[in-house]
Every structure is written in C-alpha cells, then in structure tokens.
C-alpha cells in the first residue's frame, strides 16, 4: 500500500525534518520519500487536507481497556479504536483488569490479541501479586513477555517496604516502576478535591497533601534504592515542586500528568456531574498553572489521558457512589491543545510522543526517509465540537460531549496501515 501525504508540516522536535512543509510518500510501512513535491500516481492513497500536520505517532502511557473482566465497558479492540481515533499509535495499558495483568498469561493475552491492530498496545504489569499490595508479582517473567513497566495503578502501595523491594528487584532487569500516589488515611473517604468548591458542595475532600505525602515518600524510597521511579497522574502544585527538587538532585524521577488535570478545575463539579469525578480529583486553577509550568520546565515529561471507561450504571448514580474516571483517548490532544496557553505546539507534541516512549525505554520514532512510518496526522488549529458520534470507546463517560475544542486528529499511520477519522 502506498500513501502520499500532500503538503504536510512536519512536527518532529527531535528530528532533522522538523518544521519542513513537504510531501511524504509511504510505501509498505516505510517512509520512502520526503520531498517538497511528489507527484501522485493512481496506486497511491492521497491525503491532502487543509493545514495538514504530521508528527511521530502519539503515545499515551496511561489507559484502561477493561479487558479481561469488564468487556462491557471496553475491550482491547474498542479501546485501540478509540486510541487510533485520538491519534495514538501506541498506548501503555494499566493492569486494573479482572484478573489483573499480574502474570505472564495476562501480558501475553494482551500482546497476542492486539498484535494486528494499528495501535501498539504495551501492557503494564502489576507490582504486587494479584494487585493486593502484599507480595511482589513475577515481574521478570512479565518483563520477558512484554510488560513495558510495572504499576499497581490506582491502588497506591501503602507498604513502603514492598515498594522498596519492587524498586530494587526491577533494577536487575531494567524494569520501570510507576506509582500513583495517594495516602489513604489523609484522602479518607474523599470524593473530590478539598477546597473552596468541596466546602460549598458539602462533599468530602481529598487534600492535595494526600498525594504529596506519598510522592515525597516514593522519591525517598527511589533515592535510597538508587532506582528510577515514575510518578503517574501528578495533580498538585506541591507534587510538581517535590519532583522538581528531586530532579535537581539528579534522582531518576520522571512524571506524567493527566490531560484533565491541566484543563479542568474543581469548580466544574458545582452541579454534581459525576463525569467530572476522577482520581486524582480535579484540582484548582492554581494547581493547573503549576502543572503547565512543570511541563514547560521538564519536571513533568508526559501527558496521559488516563482513559477510564465506565458504564452508565457506574456513573448515573448519586455522586458519592459514582465510579471514578472519564474516557479520554478521543479528546486528549484537543483538550491539552485547547488549554496549552503559551506552550509551543511542538513541545506539546513532544509530551505525547517522544517523551513517554523515552520514559518507557521504547525506541524513538522519527520522521525521515527509510524509517518506519509511525505517524499521526492532525490539524492543530481546527475548531470542532466533540459529539457522541466521535466516540469509538464502548463507554461515553466524558463531560466533554458538546464542548468546543481546538485541534483535530485526521488519522494515524502505523505498521503499513492507515486509519482515517471520518469528517
């Protein structure tokens, strides 16, 4: 299959073709030619969109596909479709399934079932056996089978000893430990960020402190173990500062932030709309500003969607009982792009392409002749309204339906396949 991209602007911050406007010919999954002008022939699928931009394929290092166990919310195929529609050619899959991704069997299940899909799916194995936070899982075996990293996802590891053993043990084979941070005794039974908004709503609050205490602890543990650690879902100004200080000390600490955490604040909960109920909870505009600053100075390197599909029965209930999470793959780029303020487009693209691959130790993807064509096609300036028709996920738990966003994904190219979003 031959694909010709006409007059595409290359956004590839680390590549030699960054900023060029050119035609790109892809043949059998390889970038064959990249020139100012390539004449099309009838055997080519030609893509010539207004304001066409092309970047290395995007990567989302924190998504949930609910398969195995909760396939009515999402399965590997529907999740991958949502990913491709959102411009992602690679995702890292969190292990909160049933059973959890905690042995070689589940890792291989995910790898095998997704091998032929346009989006590469990289499973993340659990740190603890059976996702219980007690004993280590067989991390090495999972690593050999294709687990890209290890995390207990949204079950924060209470036992500091367990986390230190995980950090030390995974060092043997270069496995990366990712931790989501929340001290359960401080977070208590909280349902949203503790602040002015929670006070007005009478909802129990989760103080930023709950996250920061555990971020600080985990940084100490990583320092002691001389091991790398990744802090996922950073959501408070205090956490950004802790990570900044750790990185200044040359500790191997990396961090990522969810797109909703840099775009939406807790005042949106005023009508008790459970689609805004996420964990970490939406924080304040002050936290949002600090998170963007953290992205700008490299404290936080990657932006994630934290795609968390939920069925209607889990969401359309009293706020206290509603499950956490919103879907995010289809809107992640647009949401971040709409709110990026002064951040340059190419820096934002770095946060959703090269940076997450680097954190996970995956090979870099660049746009150059002879390289595999792993590309995202998009228009960063298009204004559009997100509707139910744009949803590829099995679930619709997003507060963004009907919202106007800036930046639209045109399609993806990967493994010789082309995925194009309908207009």
């Amino acid at each position: 299959m031959k694909i010709l991209l006409k007059s595409a602007k290359v956004i590839d911050p680390n590549g030699r073709n960054n900023g060029k406007k050119c035609d790109i010919l892809i043949e059998n999954g390889i970038i064959k030619a990249l020139k100012p002008q390539i004449t099309s022939t009838p055997d080519m699928k030609v893509i010539s969109e207004k304001n066409l931009h092309v970047s290395p394929g995007w990567f989302d290092m924190q998504v949930n596909f609910r398969d195995p166990g909760y396939e009515h919310k999402e399965d590997l195929h529907s999740g991958a479709k949502a990913a491709a529609a959102g411009g992602f050619t690679g995702v890292a899959l969190m292990p909160s399934t049933l059973p959890p991704l905690h042995t070689k069997s589940e890792i291989e299940y995910v790898k095998n079932k997704t091998a032929a899909l346009i989006t590469d799916v990289y499973p993340v194995g659990t740190i603890s056996h059976n996702h219980e936070g007690k004993e280590l899982s067989e991390m090495y075996d999972m690593h050999k089978s294709g687990a890209v990293a290890f995390s207990d996802d949204k079950r924060a590891i209470v036992n500091a000893g367990l986390l230190s053993r995980a950090l030390l043990y995974s060092k043997n084979f270069g496995g990366l430990v990712m931790t989501w941070c929340s001290d359960k005794d401080i977070a208590g039974d909280g349902k949203m960020n503790e602040g002015v908004a929670s006070t007005k709503l009478g909802l129990k609050g989760i103080p930023g402190l709950a996250e920061e205490l555990m971020v600080a602890r985990n940084i100490h543990l990583a320092e002691y173990c001389e091991a790398p650690i990744h802090i996922s879902s950073v959501s408070t100004a205090g956490s950004v500062q802790l990570i900044r200080e750790a990185r200044a000390k040359k500790l191997k600490v990396s961090a990522s932030v969810n797109a909703y955490s840099i775009a939406l604040d807790d005042s949106l909960l005023k009508d008790f709309n459970s689609n805004y109920k996420v964990n970490p909870p939406l924080r304040t505009s002050k936290d949002i500003a600090a998170l963007w600053k953290g992205l700008a100075d490299g404290t936080i390197s990657a932006i994630t969607s934290d795609h968390a599909p939920q069925d209607i029965e889990s969401k359309e209930v009293e706020f206290d009982y509603a499950a956490n999470g919103m879907t995010g793959l289809e809107t992640m780029f647009a949401l971040a792009n709409t709110h990026r303020g002064k951040m340059k487009l190419e820096d934002l693209i770095g946060c959703i392409s090269s940076a997450p691959r680097k954190v996970l130790g995956l090979p870099a993807v660049n746009i150059k002749e002879g390289a595999a064509a792993n590309l995202t096609l998009f228009d960063p300036d298009a204004s559009w309204t997100f509707t139910e028709k744009d949803i590829r996920s099995k679930s619709k738990n997003t507060p963004l339906i009907g919202k106007k966003l800036k930046g639209k994904v045109i399609g993806v190219v990967n493994k010789g396949m082309l995925g194009i979003n309908m207009k």
Partner: protein, 309 residues
C-alpha cells in the same frame, strides 16, 4: 414578585434574596393560618406530594407532613435505609416508580450530597430538598432565619454564631448561605477538627473559643453533635466536647448582653446546651419548630404555584 426564581428548592445557593423574602412574606400568612382554630387551607388541593426519606428523620418529616396536610395536599410517605436502596433499585428508578402513580412533588432527604440535584435532572417533578448529606438543608436555614427575623425584627446586620460540628453539617452550610444573603454577619465556632479548612472562603469568621464567640454574637445557633454521622472520632469524648463547647446557664448569664439561643433539634440535653439554657426565655427553640411548619407551607405553596403555569 409572587413567584420563586427556581423550579425546585435544592439549596439556598440557588435562591436570590428576593426569593427568600417572598418565602418569609408567604410564611407570615401561613403562620396566621396555623394559629387559627381551623388550621387548614385548600391551597394545594389535588396536589400529591411524596415524602421520600432515605435517612432517618422524625421532626423534619413530621413538619413537612403537617405543612402538606394543612395545605390540603394528598401525602404519601416512603422511608428506606439508603443501603437497601443502594443494593437494589437505583434512586432514579425508585422515584420514577412513585411518580408513575401521579405524584406532583417530591420532598426528599438523602445521605448523599447532591442527591436532590441529581434527581431533579433525571425525573419530572418539583423537588424539595429536606437534607442531602453534608450539602444543604434549605428549609431548616429558612426557618432559622425566619425565626431570627421574628425575634429581632430583621436579619440584616445581626451577628450569628453557629457552634458545633460544621464539617458534617448541612444545617451549618445552608445557614451560612442564607444568613449571608440576608446581610447577617456569620461566625462558626467549634473544635478545629470539625471546622472545614476552607470555610472562611464562604465569608464567615472562625473562632475556636466559645466565650469569645458568644460575646461577639446576637444569636447563637447550637448544632446537635451527631455522633452517628462521624465514622471517625473527631474529638475524644462528649464530656470533653461539653467542657469546651457546651453552653450552660452560668456562661450565658455571664455575657455582657442578652443573646438569643437557637437549636435545630433534637437536643442532646447536657451536651450542646444544658436544660436550663434550652428552657430559658432566651431560647427560641420551640418557636423554630412552629415556624418550620409555616415556612415549609410557604415553600410548597410557592413551588406548586409555579407548577400550575
């Protein structure tokens, strides 16, 4: 103005000052009515009201039921523990089943904040919030402010201190919103563990010394300590709470001016306030109860009136 600006009464937050004044004016009329030999008026004849209580309540339920009956509404009652409902039928299904039997208005108490707003979005009936978790209890706040207005002539400019568990209290939150809208100055007082960290963002003063708070105020609203609502202990013992935040007669008498004492009930005698304070002439606790019926009649009447249009 003869109509409220809202379709439902979900919280004081949604009301304007004019709405509150309209409710008070209407309540004045109903207070006359309930003090006549014949206490009943035909205002809501042919209107059916369901009282749905997903949490225990004695006096609020009774007060609403009396208000409804004195307006000649038809009344049905439904009580269930929230846990049994949670396990089976959803809240929307429960309420829609009741509405299918042609009910016009719903008065609901529920343990979850926002439950009434959630319901208002999903079912087709007028909703009156009779308390939703630690969120709001609007009719309580209205009757409290109405009672202050009755006793002191106006609410504007008065200094009101709310004492007790502010963290878990919908009464405190609705009272703060209501009193602020009417131009009162509000202070909260209680142990630090029971005062929300961000409470001063609502424009209230915070004081932890009961004597200082009482010296400052014109009215003290002594909240009930609701141990059943605290899953964690926020103070070591009731004894110690009473030592610091209990109002007794000698403290009341030692104040420079004569303050008004309120309590939303039911009273833990000897805990928040001693019996001699509750029964003193400075206490308006029973007037609050009486005004509760008049204020609830006004709210139901005004919301139903809008329903006819």
């Amino acid at each position: 103005m003869t109509k409220l600006s809202t379709k439902h009464l979900l919280g004081i937050k949604d009301l304007s000052e004019q709405d509150i004044q309209l409710i008070f004016k209407t309540a004045d009329n109903f207070k006359d009515v309930i003090n006549r030999p014949i206490k009943k008026v035909p205002s809501l004849r042919d209107i059916t009201i369901a009282n749905l209580f997903f949490e225990n309540s004695t006096r609020t339920k009774l007060s609403f039921e009396l208000a409804e009956k004195r307006l000649s509404a038809d009344v049905v009652n439904f009580s269930a523990s929230s846990s049994s409902v949670k396990k089976g039928e959803t809240l929307i299904d429960t309420v829609n089943n009741i509405l299918a039997m042609k009910v016009d208005m719903v008065v609901m108490r529920h343990p979850n904040p926002g439950a009434c707003m959630f319901l208002a979005k999903h079912v087709d009936a007028r909703i009156v919030n009779a308390g939703d978790g630690a969120h709001e209890h609007p009719t309580q706040a209205l009757l409290d402010a109405y009672s202050i207005r009755e006793k002191l002539g106006t609410v504007k400019g008065k200094k009101v201190v709310i004492v007790g568990d502010i963290l878990h209290s919908r009464v405190a939150l609705s009272n703060i919103f209501c009193l602020k809208k009417l131009g009162a100055q509000v202070m909260v007082c209680g142990p630090t563990t029971l005062i929300p960290k961000y409470i001063s963002s609502l424009g209230v003063k915070v004081e932890h010394d009961l004597r200082k708070a009482l010296e400052w105020c014109d009215v003290a609203n002594m909240l009930r300590i609701q141990l059943e609502r605290q899953e964690i202990k926020y103070f070591p013992s009731l004894r110690e709470y009473t030592m610091m935040y209990g109002l007794n007669k000698s403290l009341l008498d030692s104040l420079k001016k004569e303050i008004t004492v309120m309590h939303p009930g039911p009273i833990n005698r000897g805990v928040e306030i001693t019996s001699d304070v509750a029964d003193s002439k400075q206490s308006i606790i029973l007037q609050q109860v009486e005004n509760g019926v008049a204020v609830r009649m006004a709210v139901l009447f005004l919301l139903a009136g809008r329903a006819e249009n």
